[in-house]
Symmetry: C2
Subunit: 253 residues, 2 copies
């Protein structure tokens, strides 16, 4: 059972304003929530689950001492943001934001300058997780990590990749000397450039990298186009994946 | 002015059933529609545009003898599928599906085996356009090209990339000998394999490549993961972009 008040409160967490006020967000989907219970049980404020979910995952829930309330499918439908609610919803506390800027010079990191689309942001985090990138830095204007669409699109990567919001200049100033790459339309051919550890800056979907951040880039990179008919752009997440892939090919294969 | 009946008819084109019945689909967005008028004027059944759009693009519309009806912003709001309607909407006839399988052996082509998400499908077409891939083949079960979300996500690439729906077996049988690559979880390292012209098969978002199509692949490829914590997958569109990028790096740079 779940009270009307609690339903309202959980529904309000679909909005950024109330997420930030309460420092709470929602996680849905059987696979992702099971992973959450294992990896971050301390972050779960309360789990709302159907009888089926509890029957199958009772020992996992108990072992990690997560507070769990059984609800009906109908009640789940009331608090879920999904078109097809699926057995369980977790109300979670915001994660601690760790610094992540230690030893930036010897690693390979990403900086998202004003990425706005939740789908793009989520799939970029999922890709970062695949390549073992431990921290993704973002401009303060970038998409919010706790947006439900982001959380969904990460397929669980939000638990494994550390996300840090900070101005690019602050990050670079604190980590000098740092090699700063940037994805632009008229840079050096990413396949021909010898790439090394450093930070790669990815720009906004419509406007690219901000003027003041462009000035901080020492190696602009471009994915050469073979289009014969004036295509102007790749999707930001696709471009990011191609550039990150090329770094890993050169550095780690 | 636009009649109530016409409004209804255009609204119905948001649904696949009515698109297929009428062989018509919708294109929105100033930039994309301007490109459509230039590249495919013959495909436009009727243009609905605000006074602003007509004032700025009158000569383009006339030069290409496109039928254009002026409507108010309010009327545009009624027929638009966008949250923020933008000056113009085109009702378009389905494109002729060209064969596209000529000389498949000496090119580099994509086959999408049951890609379902419109965003993934659209960004893959956009990426294909960037790399100059002229035809993208799809299984008959794949996402429909004329879905409005696909059209939006392609950012105009739907006009430049030829999309052909056909079973993989038919395509291969008609083009032997053909090198058939496939994106899988336990194949050869895509960065270390010597890649050549051929067809790359990309699987469904949840289930990968279908069993019967797996048997047709002679070179399975994998993007090596550097994740230390059990990440299972990349987004299908991201994986496609990385594999295509690696082919182009090896073949064209």
């Amino acid at each position: 059972m779940i009270s009307k008040n609690r339903v309202k409160q959980i529904q309000s967490l679909q909005q950024k304003k109330f997420r930030e006020q309460n420092k709470l967000f929602l996680v849905e989907g059987v696979k992702t929530v099971k992973e959450l219970i294992s990896l971050r049980p301390g972050a779960i404020e309360e789990l709302f689950a159907t009888e089926d979910f509890i029957r199958e995952n009772g020992s996992l829930i108990q072992k990690n001492t997560v507070q769990c309330t059984q609800i009906s499918e109908r009640e789940l439908g009331q608090i879920s943001g999904l078109q097809t609610p699926n057995q369980v919803l977790a109300v979670c506390r915001y994660f601690e934001e760790s610094d992540g800027s230690l030893d930036l010079q010897n690693q390979f990191s990403l900086y998202l300058d004003d990425i706005r689309d939740p789908g793009n942001f989520g799939t970029i985090l999922r890709m970062a997780d695949w390549f073992g990138i431990s921290t993704v830095f973002c401009s303060p204007s970038s998409c919010e990590l706790y947006n439900s669409k982001v959380i969904q699109a990460t397929m669980g990567a939000f638990m494994r990749v550390n996300v840090v919001y900070t101005p690019l200049k602050n990050l670079i100033d604190g980590s000098k000397p740092l090699h700063v790459y940037g994805a632009v339309l008229n840079g050096k051919n990413v396949y021909k450039e010898k790439l090394g550890p450093g930070l790669i800056v990815i720009g906004n979907e419509a406007n690219g990298i901000h003027e003041e951040n462009l000035a901080l880039i020492d190696c602009p990179l471009t994915i050469p186009s073979h289009s014969s008919n004036g295509t102007e752009s790749l999707n930001a997440a696709m471009a990011t994946s191609i550039i990150v892939s090329e770094f890993f090919r050169q550095l780690k294969v």
